[in-house]
């Protein structure tokens, strides 16, 4: 006999936590699973004060929001498994989970779910240049985890590639931890992130090399990063010969964008679409955050790279929709609540930074309506092989 749960939420970042909280509050039995040793996803690394409105905890530091959500999840009766990886989704809404990643005995447990919410976030893009595999070259998120969560510096002299919000914020946080940021490198002629974040970097006297890219990382005798060669780029982003500069650094952090980690829904044959603005291939979903397969929902960066605020709201919708489908929430109440959340999402996607994402979200939902219409129960999809337990 398999252990049964009403809702299994994969990923305990802001989207997953919010979804688990809503479903749990409504009375559903919820299991929240995360690979990491701590819940909160990227929230615990965010030590800066968030933007947004008071409904979105504006002015509150990311890790404080993480703590609040975790407590709310516990209060809502959500069961949380950490150090556990969802290694498979099988026909019949079965979720295979490998426990014991924290060093305890490994075992695989299969849960029989009624609804599954995939909120597995995103992962960092890689930029390849000569020497990109040298120890000391890492994702900006990795450096951020090291200083903000583990309180250890990844290096002393850090060169940041990318001036999107991740590049700008992580540079600031590395300086707060006592590292020296020797510069930021940006291939475009424009700063990618918010002006106010860039302003903090400039006030700290850190050089920003616009229209530049990294062409080579040179290791020292110990095999780790010692020098970085950057060069100016032309309008096609090709390095211009003769413009090379050598910068001394022992760490290179890459903040060149994120791509959605959206592999699990593929296992259930959910339909996907490619979206450049959102960072890659994403599962199509409707306004209930439900994919083409009935009972499988998605929320947060998995559906397109945005922010913690939007992830939180999407998670709420998925949690409410799943609980509603199971009969735990009255349909009228659910519809009204979801409508309010969609209004908040529109407000979050306003302004020059957000409006492109708003337009793309609308495209995704329209594409879903056109190609899929309504979600199909698993058994009705083509090629479905029902596996008896």
């Amino acid at each position: 006999m398999l252990q049964e749960k009403d809702v299994v939420v994969v990923g305990a970042g802001p989207a997953g936590l919010a979804a688990a909280i809503e479903a749990g509050k409504a009375g559903a039995s919820v299991l929240l699973v995360d690979l990491n040793l701590m819940a909160g996803g990227q929230l615990f690394k965010q030590i800066h004060k968030f933007f947004g409105s008071s409904a979105h905890h504006s002015g509150t530091r990311g890790f404080d929001i993480g703590k609040m959500l975790l407590q709310e999840a516990k209060d809502a009766g959500v069961e949380i498994w950490l150090g556990s990886a969802v290694i498979g989704l099988f026909p019949g809404m079965k979720v295979a989970i490998e426990k014991g990643l924290d060093g305890t005995k490994k075992e695989v447990i299969t849960i029989q779910a009624k609804k599954i919410i995939v909120a597995t976030g995103a992962s960092e893009n890689v930029i390849r240049f000569k020497g990109w595999t040298t120890p000391g070259v890492m994702g900006a998120g990795a450096a951020q985890t090291m200083v903000n969560v583990n309180h250890v510096k990844p290096g002393r002299k850090i060169l940041m590639l990318g001036t999107g919000n991740v590049g700008l914020i992580v540079s600031y946080q590395l300086m707060q931890a006592g590292c020296q940021v020797v510069g930021l490198v940006e291939a475009a002629p424009k700063i990618g992130g918010y002006a106010v974040h860039a302003a903090k970097i400039k006030r700290a006297g850190v050089p920003i090399y616009m229209n530049h890219t990294i062409v080579e990382v040179k290791p020292g005798a110990d095999g780790c990063v010692e020098k970085v060669i950057i060069a100016q780029v032309d309008e096609k982003f090709n390095p211009i010969s003769g413009t090379e500069k050598e910068i001394e650094a022992d760490t290179v952090t890459l903040a060149a964008g994120l791509k959605p980690s959206a592999e699990l829904p593929k296992l259930m044959k959910c339909q996907y679409t490619f979206n450049g603005v959102f960072g890659g291939s994403i599962p199509l979903h409707n306004e209930n955050m439900e994919t083409s397969i009935e009972g499988i929902y998605v929320a947060g960066d998995t559906t397109g790279v945005e922010e913690a605020n939007t992830a939180l709201e999407e998670g709420k919708i998925a949690g409410i929709a799943a609980a509603q489908a199971l009969g735990y929430i009255d349909a009228k109440v659910a519809e009204e609540t979801k409508k309010e959340i969609w209004h908040r999402l529109v407000a979050l996607r306003m302004g020059p930074f957000g409006e492109r994402r708003l337009a793309e979200k609308e495209k995704i939902i329209a594409e879903y309506a056109m190609k899929i219409g309504a979600p199909v129960p698993e058994e009705n999809m083509e090629g479905y092989d029902h596996v008896d337990n």
Binding site: L35, N36, L37, I47, R61, G83, L101, D102, G103, S123, E124, T133, T134, P135, G136, V137, M138, G139, G141, A142, A143, T145, M146, V147, N148, N150, H151, V152, K153, P154, G155, R156, Q176, A177, G178, D222, G223, C224, S261
Partner: protein
């Protein structure tokens, strides 16, 4: 070499417990129970976790969240352990992984 963040305006970085000892390639280093093994290694200035199979090239921290496997090392005899998501236990024996380091009993 101490790479710990010892002062911070926002974070409480004061260590409230005593460190334990773990061994890395025979060298005894300080670590805190529960922190990722990789954190203790970085604090000790150790940036190389393994060498690749074909070209014997060094690899170290890349993603920090258990997705890329560049930080994999042999921990207490078990190879391919992602040190960025594995918590420290007192007395752990860690070795730089060479290629696939097929199991050291």
């Amino acid at each position: 070499m101490c790479m710990r963040v010892e002062n911070h305006v926002i974070l409480d970085v004061e260590k409230k417990v005593s460190p334990v000892e773990i061994t890395v390639d025979g060298l005894v280093i300080e670590a805190y129970e529960g922190e990722p093994v990789l954190g203790a290694l970085l604090n000790a200035g150790i940036k190389i976790n393994r060498y690749t199979v074909k070209r014997h090239e060094p690899r170290g921290l890349f993603c920090g969240i258990g997705q890329c496997t560049d930080c994999a090392m042999v921990v207490d005899g078990v190879p391919n352990v992602r040190t960025c998501i594995t918590p420290v236990k007192a007395g752990m024996v860690i070795k730089t992984q060479d290629g696939l380091s097929k199991g050291e009993a």
